[in-house]
Symmetry: none
Subunit: 221 residues, 4 copies
Amino acid sequence: MSHAALAPDTTPRRSRRKDARPGELLAAALSLFVEKGFAATTVEAVAARAGVSKGTLFLYFPSKVELFQAVVRENIVGRLSEWAQTIERHEGPQAPLLRELMHQWWQRIGMTEASGITKLVMSEAGQFPDIARFYQTEVIEPGQALIRLILRRGVASGEFRDLNPEHTTHGLFAPMLFLVMWKHSLGLCAPAQTQLDPSAFIDSQLQLLLHGLMPPSPHTP
Amino acid sequence: MSHAALAPDTTPRRSRRKDARPGELLAAALSLFVEKGFAATTVEAVAARAGVSKGTLFLYFPSKVELFQAVVRENIVGRLSEWAQTIERHEGPQAPLLRELMHQWWQRIGMTEASGITKLVMSEAGQFPDIARFYQTEVIEPGQALIRLILRRGVASGEFRDLNPEHTTHGLFAPMLFLVMWKHSLGLCAPAQTQLDPSAFIDSQLQLLLHGLMPPSPHTP
Amino acid sequence: MSHAALAPDTTPRRSRRKDARPGELLAAALSLFVEKGFAATTVEAVAARAGVSKGTLFLYFPSKVELFQAVVRENIVGRLSEWAQTIERHEGPQAPLLRELMHQWWQRIGMTEASGITKLVMSEAGQFPDIARFYQTEVIEPGQALIRLILRRGVASGEFRDLNPEHTTHGLFAPMLFLVMWKHSLGLCAPAQTQLDPSAFIDSQLQLLLHGLMPPSPHTP
Amino acid sequence: MSHAALAPDTTPRRSRRKDARPGELLAAALSLFVEKGFAATTVEAVAARAGVSKGTLFLYFPSKVELFQAVVRENIVGRLSEWAQTIERHEGPQAPLLRELMHQWWQRIGMTEASGITKLVMSEAGQFPDIARFYQTEVIEPGQALIRLILRRGVASGEFRDLNPEHTTHGLFAPMLFLVMWKHSLGLCAPAQTQLDPSAFIDSQLQLLLHGLMPPSPHTP
DNA sequence: GATGAATGAGTGTTCATTCAT
DNA sequence: AATGAATGAACACTCATTCAT
């Protein structure tokens, strides 16, 4: 309608929008799936939040299910590599590293919108086994591998006892999972006096776990 | 499978079925709710699995939500009152009681279909506030009250230290929640070597927690 | 179950109830149909109010429609014969008779539950043409005949002018119909200041009509 | 029936239909509501009569009740504002205005399908309080306000006596209500000789009312 | 005769999906 | 590529009617 071609803006509107579309749709879908779950999210609402029509959504994603799967895939990759580097570079005792990582997890994932992805995946995994497999492979297993690496190093240096590594790993995951689910479900309607201070909770759980990991104090007979 | 085919059909058609109906419907509802979640389960499917028509279901349960609540009462709330009695009657130190209760929980809820209900509630609480409040009121709060009672008794007798009761309660719940979510979502597709022995996991978590709860033993040099 | 046979009550319970059943059902149906209309009345509610089971109702009335028709028929007959006698016996001017009859109508029909029948018939007539015909034949036409008789007598004696009798008859019915419909529908939610004093309204309408019926005053040129 | 069969099908399939849809749906809804009443009319039947699917109806009207309200606005409320203008602009005596308006009412509402709406509301107001309140607010009260305005002006100019305005207003409505109920219920099966000429009936009722409203003429001996 | 458990065809309403434009 | 009008298969829930007991 206007003579926009004369303007210096050389990036053509159409094609830039075209490239951006899937991303805008995925972002809209992410926030709605997190907010309302899979069933209660309508494709119309996703399209509206992305500023396109319902038909356009189906141009990029052939069905609601495939949109959901694309959302999960899009938002899972590449979260762990940073921590992998931190761990690899770390020198000194492992306990402060564990403590640091768990608090970082809370700051960067647990307390942010990103924890909604975890909640989403856990909630809908039963209906979408391939999503569960995907998350298991791409997130859970690499995450557990990092933890096991720390534990192995601690055992090797004599800082930790040589306990069952599965139990310890899961024992470290359990409070994080608990916090995520609490935040996104029942915590929403828990009475005020049951409210939870997540950082303090992490601290207390870590203290228990680290104490359990420590070797029997040397001056015990 | 049995030789029953030769026997005349002795199942009474109407009057005697009436007593059995609610149970059949509750069983069908439990398995479908666990399998598909609340929103994705249709009352028609429940009725069909119970071998009756849709209308018949509404003869016994006035709505889908109340059917669900009946399922929860049947499978979970009932157990809580049993445990309340066990706790009330208990004499002696609290640590073995906690251990016993957590293993009973695993045997009677955690490892059964009923644990799917907890997963369902955590997953869909956001969309069905009625259900979330119901579960919070009828299950979570009474359950936490039982735990707090044990903790208080332990503190009173000097068996436990006087730690933050919220953290301890949540710390006891976290592994159970972890097991439930694990079993019903990601665990479904975890590789064999990551499989978890739930009883042993409960044991190890309890050991950590109980150790953390014990007062500094006076006779340690 | 009891030895009631020994008691002196010789009227057998069974048969007496049996004879009373249809009447109890009709009474229950009448009040519910008046209260809620045809569609919104359930046969279950009728049976419950009559103190019998749903199945029993269908023993006496083969369908909801036929129950409805029986209710209307049962409650229409024999209301007018009294007034017919009053009119026949009346001597003297007709105007006070009309006035007396309309106020009696309000006292005996309009303000009582009976006006619900009229409302019911008018409301459902479109769906039940034979009920409409029945009411027309059994109530409306005899009623109009009575009015026409009065008018004819008034004209014969010179008390009334010789106006179109259809218009006058309908003009006398219109305020009664208006009161009935007002009472049973919109009047229910009219604001307080629009409330209507039925007796005063009848008076004012009668005054207009009677004035219109009077012959031109003799001393007018 | 027409020669159109030879012409190519020029009815545009989608985009141009959109403008016509609401009107087609409203027309279908009007005739079905009048024919069967509110409760007995199904949205599916309305859609079918308009030649669209059930879902399409909900594209234009968010609920059955709002469809009904749109029908009322289209067919009745619109007329009221026309009359409001007529009344406002009117100069000279009020009596001919009243006469003109009542005849217009008969031509535009009373004798058309639209009068069935009034009958419907009176019949089903008890079961659908939303509809009753809506009609009361949007039709009855504005209509009465118009009548009261005319009466007030007539009293102010000395054309009318200062009678009870409620009774006079209701007295003017009563014959219209009578005609509507007559047309849509019992009149459907009244014998031929009882048939009513509505225009003449309106005339005669108006004459009575206007005569009653006139002040005692000062120059009568 | 009387019961009440059981049915199944409908209700209004929603929403993923299609397709002519 | 993008639209948005149109669809129709669900869904939870109701209720007149049936029929074995």
